[in-house]
Amino acid sequence: MLTILFDGVAYGMLLFVLACGLTITLGLMNFINLAHGAFAMAGGYITVVLMNRYGVSFYWCLPIAFLVVAAIGLVLERTLYSRLYSAPHLDQVLFSVGLVFMSIAAVDYFMGGQQQLIHLPRELSGRWEVFGVGIGKYRLFIIVICALLAVALQLALTKTRFGSQLRAAVDDGRVARGLGINVPVVFALTFAFGSGLAGLGGALGAEILGLDPNFPLKFMIYFLIVVTVGGTSSITGPFLAALLLGIADVAGKYYVPQIGAFVIYAVMVLVLILRPHGLFSREGTR
């Protein structure tokens, strides 16, 4: 039982890192970006290629995945996304679905449709038995990294200058511009950073989530759940939502494999009906 809880927490942490970039683009910038999973997939495939073809160490792959995907995100934001910030939501949906389709086909073309495997460093594989609870070393590794990231993010958003600039830019772009904040630059950097995190999450998750060309579609709904259920008023909301979703999903797949996914979607729809601003949002009941 506790093992499942542990796995669930690891899975949830991973989802949080994957989805927290989306919290910002979708939640704060109000851009419906269904292609977020494509950035995560890119991170995963970068890791696979670096490790399996060039023998790069797993630990090096993580920052590289982050940086490369952040760069991709930056380029796409400047060239395409930024033009659609004020476009109707339908256009944003069409655009990002188009991006998903292209990324799926492109990855299929270059890498093939099969599941990709990575070989974790020896010290990360295997598990410890602590009081009868199986603690996977790799999952512990994920929990530690993601927890550190979550704390760092929370601090960055609330304590740094950039964080307050971002919140100002999101609250009221015109006023922020008046205060001398370069809104496009803030948005671009944030978008890049969020994409980078997705890339990192993809790299970390390649082992646990599985990696094949359909990744962006398979996990799109999970990311969206984290954001909509978590709400966007803080980092904590999505964080809790991700944990909850992770535990529920792992437990559901274990105990009630027939209806696990169904229950998750049903709960999501229910939450959306009852609290359209998210379960953990302060303005939720409005």
Binding site: L26, N30, I32, L80, R83, L84, A87, H89, L90, D91, V93, L94, F95, V97, G98, L99, V100, F101, M102, S103, I104, A105, A106, D108, Y109, L217, I221, L224, T228, Q258, I259, A261, F262, Y265, A266, M268, V269, L272, I273, P276
Partner: protein, 356 residues
């Protein structure tokens, strides 16, 4: 537009009722492009009997897209789960034919009712909230149904699909043939009847009020339009249409698989509608023709990777701007443009109406 109404004006000067009646009559008279489109569609039965299968596919996609246009183009609801209704209709028709009664028209009705009930129930979920919550709810409902179809293998055949569906002759008279010719005629007649009905719907007071809700919800409520009722109604009707489209797919292929509920279908139908243009009913049909031909052509040149190009088309459409695409004819040289407008707006009996 303005020049047309000026000529009307001058011919009926001093009689506002007459002008008003004439203007409204013009509003729902058949345009030339509509007539041509249907003539070609029916001529295809004889002109291209060997292409009946792909023609049937176009017809079904068209009906599905017309259904989406009712909620997107007329009620302004962006849905990412419209295939829920399509898929439910497909399964309903399959199961009904397999277990109860093999006559297809009855099956269409059953499928339409099943999807309509689901549409009615779920319509209350899309009344509230922002575009994002609507997207998520529609997407969630679609995924729930897909999951159900997958898991309830005892009923649906699970991932292998529902096989052993045998469809009887239409109305007990017309047997489906191997070349799909009956299937095409059957689908086309269904599409024609339903488009005709949808045409009446959008040109009626109900249709006008829907457009009003979409353009200006604040004012709409201030001319006493009960927006919620109207949206529930049109969402239900659209669900019926989608269900019938799904049923047509089952009946013409004698097979249902969970693919009818897959997310990509919801995305495809959005693309179809956007290709053809949102909000004038024929966008779905024209889009279906373009989309199916495009996909066929792409899958010939790049068999596995046509998805890439579909995605590419989506992005290009958005980047050029849907409004600009809708105004493509304004980029033509002036004389050609004028000729086209004249042809497109020509309608039988227009002259008589104008000179009265």
């Amino acid at each position: 537009m303005s020049s047309a109404s000026e000529t009307l004006m001058s011919s009926t000067a001093g009689k506002p009722e007459t002008t008003a009646m004439a203007l409204l009559r013009r509003r729902n008279s058949w345009r030339a492009y509509e007539i041509v489109l249907w003539l070609i569609a029916f001529a295809m039965i004889f002109a291209m009997p060997s292409k009946a299968l792909i023609l049937t596919e176009i017809t079904i996609v068209a009906l599905f897209a017309v259904s989406l246009d009712l909620i997107l183009g007329y009620a302004g609801i962006v849905s990412l789960g419209h295939t829920a209704f399509f898929g439910l209709g497909a399964y309903a028709a399959g199961l009904f034919a397999k277990h109860y009664f093999a006559e297809p028209v009855t099956g269409l009705l059953v499928a339409g009712i099943a999807s309509g009930v689901l549409g009615f129930v779920t319509s209350f979920l899309v009344l509230r909230g922002s575009d994002l919550t609507r997207l998520m709810t529609t997407l969630g409902i679609g995924l729930m149904l897909a999951e159900l179809a997958n898991q309830m293998a005892w009923l649906t055949g699970g991932a292998d699909g529902l096989s052993g569906v045998i469809i009887g002759p239409i109305l007990g008279q017309f047997e489906f043939d191997l070349w799909g010719r009956t299937g095409y005629i059957y689908s086309l007649v269904t599409l024609f009847i339903l488009t005709w009905a949808a045409r009446r719907l959008v040109n009626s007071p109900f249709g006008l009020s829907l457009k009003a809700i979409k353009t200006n919800p604040v004012r709409a409520s201030m001319v006493a339009i009960p927006s919620r009722h109207r949206i529930v109604a049109v969402y239900t009707i659209a669900a019926v249409y989608a269900g019938i489209a799904g049923a047509l797919l089952t009946q013409t292929t004698s097979f249902v698989s969970p693919d009818v509920l897959a997310f990509h279908r919801s995305a495809d139908v959005l693309l179809v509608l956007v290709l053809g243009g949102v909000g004038y009913l024929y966008g779905g049909i024209i889009g279906a023709i373009l989309f199916t031909l495009l996909r066929d052509w792409l899958s010939v040149i790049t068999p596995q990777y046509w998805m890439f190009w579909i995605g590419f088309v989506l992005i290009v459409i958005v980047m050029i701007g849907r409004e600009n695409l809708a105004r493509w004819h304004t980029f033509l040289p002036e004389p050609l443009r004028r000729a086209m407008t004249r042809i497109a707006n020509w309608r039988p009996g227009a002259k008589i109406g104008g000179s009265r």
